[in-house]
Symmetry: C2
Subunit: 206 residues, 2 copies
DNA sequence: GTCATTTTGTTACATTTCGTTATATAGTTT
DNA sequence: AAACTATATAACGAAATGTAACAAAATGAC
């Protein structure tokens, strides 16, 4: 990506996007920054500032064209640039992510799942096949996939990560609580649910 | 919470904690900031600075006592202060979270699950019962639970959230992509997987 | 046509946060 | 005692955050 957008802005952009989708469903064509701001409980000038990162699409005294704005957000966040990924671990979390249809509209294509449980192999979930983990290296190369979504139990995480690296996976979206050791050229993105909960809990509860 | 700790620090503290757990499993009693830093690929003085938020427990030229440090992190992040919660939606994601044993050791007790599917009612997952959603208001009051983890499909999210609010739930950990409308006195914490993926994708891929 | 109003787009600003660097201190080892 | 390693704290500059301010533009009222 050429333009570097911070995490907080990215997060807000997805929220704007979600609101825009609602407006489209309701057949509303225009939206203003104060409307969005009050919906999210934030400052309206912040909304406009965020939109400044896209392209100027608003019209004074009128607001923004909902569809146009939605397109700009999608383009900026790269929804169009589809990326293929495998889910490693067909437990509940893996299956939940596989069923999460939304991903594909945001640029993430789940191609298949992998597990070491022979009972699960060859099952299909949401039109995606579950393969035995031993099939991974072959499919990585044949389908040219370099993103893995890791949803195995914690105590297997490192072992599986090593296998992913050996299979030429380059990016790991890590849903396990394990702190993975990987070579420098492999990128790991930790989905830290515990930390997320603690922020939630510490900030707001008691 | 009296001490306000930023999200990034909280996140790092959980990573330190995870590493400390490894050391305990391996029976190692001492750890130094450079060790932790190199494990995570960050600066060692940052590690010490983070630890400064706890209490000074390190000994020069020796390092930190692993167990002591782990306790301090747990106390600071409030692991000891157990919080009870219900999971709303017994789909794959709800079940995955219910099976996620780690939560309880980090202060989050999942008490039960709720769903509107009669077929799922009365099943148990990880010793937690699935109740019909109509039982929620009663159980909220009887068990004094005010945290709900929302894992229902997006198109039901708002309707269910309204029901949670009417049932006296005060905190909602929202795993759906919906932007919820709730009264001011209700706290919502959005687990924005899409935004998380986009940060991952934008920063590192291509 | 004029004027008031609303909304955008941009700039400015004050605050906070971030991660590193630097420094002094303390404990271990040789 | 000297050298080394590790901690604790202060200082620093860079970056990011959210808010406020303001001019320009476009609409609608009169």
């Amino acid at each position: 990506m050429d333009n570097k957008i911070s995490g907080k802005v990215t997060s807000r952009l997805t929220l704007y996007h979600s609101i825009l989708c609602e407006y489209i469903e309701d057949g509303i064509e225009l939206i203003s920054s104060p409307q969005i701001a009050s919906r999210l409980g934030i400052d309206d000038s912040q909304v406009r500032k965020d939109f400044g990162l896209l392209k100027n699409v608003g019209r004074c005294r009128v607001g923004y064209n909902v569809k146009e704005l939605k397109d700009k957000i999608e383009k900026t966040l790269g929804f169009a640039h589809q990326k293929d990924a495998f889910i490693i671990g067909a437990g509940h979390l893996g299956l939940a992510l596989a069923k999460y249809d939304n991903f594909s509209s945001y640029g993430l294509n789940i191609i298949a799942l992998f597990d070491n449980d022979p009972y699960k192999v060859d099952m299909h979930i949401n039109n995606k096949q579950i393969f035995h983990i031993t099939k991974l290296p072959n499919l990585v190369h044949r389908l040219n996939v370099d993103i893995a979504i890791l949803t195995v139990p914690k105590n297997q995480a490192q072992k599986v990560a090593d296998f992913l690296v050996a299979s030429d996976i380059k990016y790991i979206w890590n849903f396990t609580p394990a702190v993975l050791r990987v070579p420098d050229n492999i990128k790991v993105w930790n989905e830290n649910l515990i930390a997320s909960f603690l922020q939630f809990a510490c900030k707001d509860i008691e």
